[in-house]
Point group: C3
Chain length 393, copies 3
C-alpha cells in the first residue's frame, strides 16, 4: 500500500509540509484527492500540526498535536463540528494546563468535532487525598487530547476505492503510571461521505493496566437546531442529575439556542446487534433532511452519553454524541461498577466508529429505520432520575 | 491608512520576519522609523514573537506572545522598564505555569515594562472550594499576560505625523467561562516621546460577563532611585496592610535599594477632571530632571495602586504604577465592593493610557503643576491603616 | 581556546544547526570528533535542542532544553542510560506540568541518563499551607531539569588532548523567589571513556539563598541485570522506609526484572579521601566485566542515595546513583538537618563528577580496589531501619 511517513519523531523523521495527491503515490487520479500537512503559526495555535484530507465527498482536518483529534469536517456546504468560544484554535497543548480551572483546564483547548477523552481516566474531575497532605487531582477528560502524536503516516489503498488512512501514534506513558499506546487509523474513501476511526490501545507495560476511552463527537448548527433530534436504540435512558431530569420528557429533541441554558446529560444503554453489538446513533435536523449517523459496537464501546448544551450561539450551542467504554462519571465511580477496561501486559482494546454524513431525507429515514429495527418495538426504560449503576442517585 | 497584517492565525496569515520602514508603505521618510518583527530563539524565550518600533524619539518592544505586553522602551539613554530577576525573558507562556508556586506562577515570566493583569480576575491569588473536594485556584494577576495574540497588524497614518500603531487581538475565551476579546492599539508618533495604549475589551459571549483589568507599569533605575517621587492627584491614600502602614509617612518617596525590603502597596482614589476624569501620575527622579507621566481616565480606570518594591538591585528594585478597574485584592473582595466591570453581551469597555517620557526639569515641573491643579489645594485623606472599601481593615 | 557559541538568547545568538569537527575550529584531526546540534521535531520532543558529541570513545547527547541534562551516552555497543516508559522523549518542558499528578508531573519527562534535581528543592513532593486557604505545592525534584538553557557554547582545548566541553547556563530565577544560575561544563576527551560534569551554582540575588542539588544518574541493562552490584565506601547505610528494609540484606545486589517491584531506596554516608573527600561509586554487571565508576567529592556532594527500581523491563528496570547535597526527603526535613546549601549573595557552590565507563574486568577490579582502600577494612554501619538524621524513623 502506498504510504508516506510524515512524522516519526523517535526515528528523526519529520516532513515539514506536504501536499500529496494520487500522482505523488503513483495512483490513478480518477477520484481526485489531496492530503496536506502544515504547521499552523501564531497565537495559541503556534506550532500545531494540521493534516487536511480533501476529496470529492468530504474535507477533514486532523490534529496530530492534539492527540489525533478531528478538528473539523465538511461535506459541500454542510459543516460538521461546532462554533467553540475557543475561536483561535486548534490550541497547542503547550498553552493548556489541564490542572487549571479547578481541573477544567481541558476546556481551554476544546474546539474539536471529535476529541478523545482518556486514557488513564475521563469524565468529571476528581481529587484523591494522598494521606501526606498532598492531593492528586484528576482533570476533566484526561490527557490524551493534549498529547502530541509522535508518529504520523498516510496510507492509500493501491486498488479502488483508494481509501485514504491517516495513522497516528500517541503514548500516554510514564514511569510509575499509565503506559498505553494508541494507534489510530482515520480512514475516508475518496468521493464518500464517511469517516472511519479505528483506535487500538495497547498496554506497553509489564503490569495490567486500566483505561477508559470516550469519544466526544460534537455538533452545532446546521445539524443542531430547534427541533433537531437524536435517536438511538436503547434499553435504558438515565438522566445524570436533577438538571437533566428537568428535560427528560424531551431529552431526544433540541431546543433553540438559549443563552444561560445549563447542560443536560443523559446516559444510554445502547442496543447492538450481532456478536459485536453493532449499533448506530442518528442526529438529524428538524426537517429530517440532513444528519449524521454514528456507528459503533457495544462490544467495544458499551456506553453512550448524550450531552445537550443548547446555550447561546456565541457561548457554544452544541451537542455531544459520546460512545465510550464508560460514562463520564469520576473514574472511581465507574471502576466500582466495572466500567474500566483492563488490559493485560501487551494486550489491546480496539474501538471503531464510522461517521456517515446523511445529506438527504432518504438517508436520514434509512438510518431511522435501522434504529427502529434495533429497538424492535420494545421502548427503552426511561428512568425518572439518576439510578444505579449509571449515576449516583 | 497603510497597514500590514503580520499575524492572523485563524486566517492562516503569518509573516515570519519583517523590517518595515516608511518606503515599504509608500510614505515619505522625513521622520524615519522602522517596525521589526522576529521570533526569539533559545532558552525560555524560544518562539516568542517580538515587535520592535524604533523612531527618533523612542524604541519600544511589544510581545504578542505575552498578550501584547510592552517589554521595554527606551528614549535615548533613558531606559524605561526594570531589571527583573527573570534575566532571560521575555518568557514563552508555554514555560509558565500560572497555577504553580501556590498561585504565584505568573512571577516566572514577569519582566515587562507594562504587563496587563486580568481579565477574568487580577490581584492576589485565591482559592474557592467547589464542594466536591475540588478547589479552584485563581492565580495571581490572571491569564491575559500569558495568552498569545492571534492577530497582529501595523498601521501607519498616511498623513503627518504618521503615527505608528501596533494592533493586537487576544482572546480570553472558553466554553463555560470568560469570553472576552481584547483589541489593543499601541501607538507612537515618530519623533515623539509618547506611547499611547488603547484597549477595547468586548464580551463575545451571549451572557453578561465580568472582567477586571489592571495595568502593571514597572520602573526601575534610573527613574527609580533614592529620593524619587510619585505624585498623583488623589482624594484618598490607603495602605494595603500593616507593612504598608510602616512606610505611610513617606509613601510618595522612594528609598535606596535595600535587600530584603518587603513590598509596600498603597491604594489611591485618583482625582480626574472633565467628564472622562482625565488624570495623571508622575514618577520622577530625585533631581526632578527626568520622569514619566502616566495619563489615564478615572471613568475608565477608577483605581490606582502603587507598588513600592525597593529591594536590592539584583532582586528587583522596582515600582509599579497601576491604574485599574479595581485594586488588586482577590476578586471576590472587589466584586462585593462593586469594582468589577459588567459587560452585556456584545458590549465593550475601553481603557486608554498615555505614557510621556519627561526628559527635562521643565517637563517634570509642568506635569507637577498639572497635578497640583487637579489636587486643587485639597490634600488627600491619608488613612492611617487599611480601611473599607479599599482594603480589609 | 577555540569556542563556538550556539545559543545566547539574551544576546540574540542562535545557531539553528551545527556539525562541528576539528577542521572547523582549525584543529588537527588526529583524534576525530564531531559536535552536532539540531532541533528535534514532532510529538512531545517538538522544538527540543539536542547536542550530540561523538568521538572514538563515546557518544553523548545533551539536552539544553531540558536543563542541560544528559539524555544518553554510548561506548561502542554499551548503552548508558535506561529504557524509560517515556518512549518518545526527550520531552519539551512545554508539555510537562510539574504540578500535575499530585506533584509527580516530573515523571512525564523523565528519561535521562542524568537528570538534575533542584535547585530550590528536590526530593519527594510536599505541600505547605499558606494560611489563607492556599497551598503551595513543591513538586518532585524541583524545576531545573525542565528549564531551557539560555546560553550554550562548545569549547575545544587547543592543545592535546583537545578536550571538548559543552557549556550551558540555566537560570532558576524570578521575583520573590530563587535567583540561582547554574553554569555547567560537560567535558569529554576524544578517545576517552570519561564524562566530566562541573556545575557552578551562583546566587544572583542580593539576599542569601538556599539550594539543593542531586544528580540522578540512571542505568538500565546491560549494566543493570540480575547479580549486578553497587559498591561504594560508606560509613553508614540507611533504608529509607519499611519497603527498603525488606531488601536490606542484599541492598547492594540487584535482582532480575520483576514486574510490580516497588522501589527501594537507601541512603549512604560516603567516605571520601583528602580535603575534598574524593570518592567513587561503582556499578558493575554480574560478571564484573563491565561497569561505571561515578566519582565525586563529599565536600561538594556529601550525600549518596541509591534508587533500586528493578521492575519489569517495559515498566522501567533501572537503578539511580544519586550523589547530592542532601537526601531526597522533602526539603523541610532536610533543612532541619542542615542539608541545604546556603549561598551568600554572589557566592557559588561547585559540584563536580566524573563518570568512567569500565569496559574490562581489570577496570572494574581496579575501581573495586579503590573502594576497598577507602573503606579501609571498617565496614559501614548498616542500620536496620530508617534512623535520624537520614530519614524519619
Amino acid at each position: 500500500m502506498p504510504s508516506r511517513t510524515l512524522t516519526d519523531s523517535p526515528a528523526g523523521v519529520w516532513i515539514e509540509r506536504v501536499d500529496l495527491g494520487p500522482g505523488d503515490l503513483g495512483l490513478p487520479a480518477s477520484d481526485p484527492w489531496v492530503v496536506r500537512k502544515r504547521a499552523l503559526r501564531g497565537g495559541r495555535r503556534e506550532g500545531v500540526d494540521l493534516i487536511e484530507v480533501e476529496h470529492g465527498g468530504l474535507t477533514l482536518a486532523i490534529v496530530p498535536t492534539r492527540g489525533m483529534g478531528i478538528w473539523r469536517a465538511q461535506h459541500g456546504e454542510l459543516r460538521l463540528g461546532w462554533g467553540s468560544p475557543v475561536k483561535d484554535g486548534p490550541v497547542n497543548p503547550a498553552f493548556v494546563n489541564l490542572a487549571d480551572l479547578g481541573g477544567l483546564g481541558w476546556l481551554q483547548g476544546f474546539d474539536e468535532l471529535m476529541a478523545r477523552c482518556g486514557l488513564e481516566h475521563n469524565g468529571a474531575p476528581y481529587v484523591v487525598a494522598e494521606g501526606d497532605g498532598r492531593q492528586t487531582a484528576y482533570p476533566l477528560h484526561g490527557r490524551i487530547a493534549n498529547i502530541p502524536a509522535h508518529y504520523v503516516a498516510v496510507h492509500v489503498g493501491d486498488g479502488p476505492p483508494h481509501a485514504i488512512t491517516v495513522e497516528g501514534h500517541v503514548n500516554e506513558a510514564r514511569l510509575f503510571g499509565m503506559k498505553v499506546r494508541m494507534v489510530t487509523r482515520i480512514t475516508t474513501v475518496p468521493g464518500s461521505r464517511r469517516i472511519t476511526v479505528r483506535d487500538e490501545f495497547t498496554n506497553l507495560g509489564d503490569l495490567p493496566a486500566e483505561m477508559q476511552i470516550l469519544y466526544h463527537w460534537n455538533f452545532g448548527p446546521p445539524l443542531l437546531g430547534e427541533g433537531s433530534r437524536i435517536v438511538l436504540p436503547a434499553r435504558a435512558v438515565v438522566p445524570r442529575n436533577a438538571r437533566a431530569v428537568e428535560g427528560l420528557g424531551h431529552h431526544d429533541v433540541y431546543g433553540p439556542p438559549e443563552p444561560g441554558f445549563a447542560e443536560q446529560v443523559y446516559f444510554f444503554e445502547p442496543i447492538g446487534e450481532g456478536a459485536d453489538g453493532r449499533t448506530v446513533a442518528l442526529l438529524h435536523d428538524h426537517a429530517g433532511g440532513r444528519g449524521v449517523a454514528l456507528r459503533f459496537a457495544t462490544s467495544q464501546l458499551p456506553c453512550f452519553t448524550l450531552w445537550k448544551n443548547s446555550g447561546g450561539l456565541k457561548d457554544g450551542y452544541v451537542t455531544g454524541l459520546e460512545p465510550g467504554t464508560n460514562y463520564p462519571n469520576p473514574k472511581p465511580f465507574e471502576a466500582q461498577r466495572g466500567r474500566v477496561v483492563k488490559l493485560a501486559s501487551g494486550a489491546s482494546h480496539v474501538a471503531e466508529m464510522t461517521l456517515d454524513v446523511l445529506d438527504s431525507a432518504e438517508a436520514v429515514a434509512a438510518a431511522g429505520a435501522e434504529i427502529r429495527a434495533l429497538q424492535a418495538g420494545e421502548p427503552p426504560t426511561i428512568h425518572p432520575g439518576p439510578v444505579e449503576p449509571f449515576a449516583a442517585p
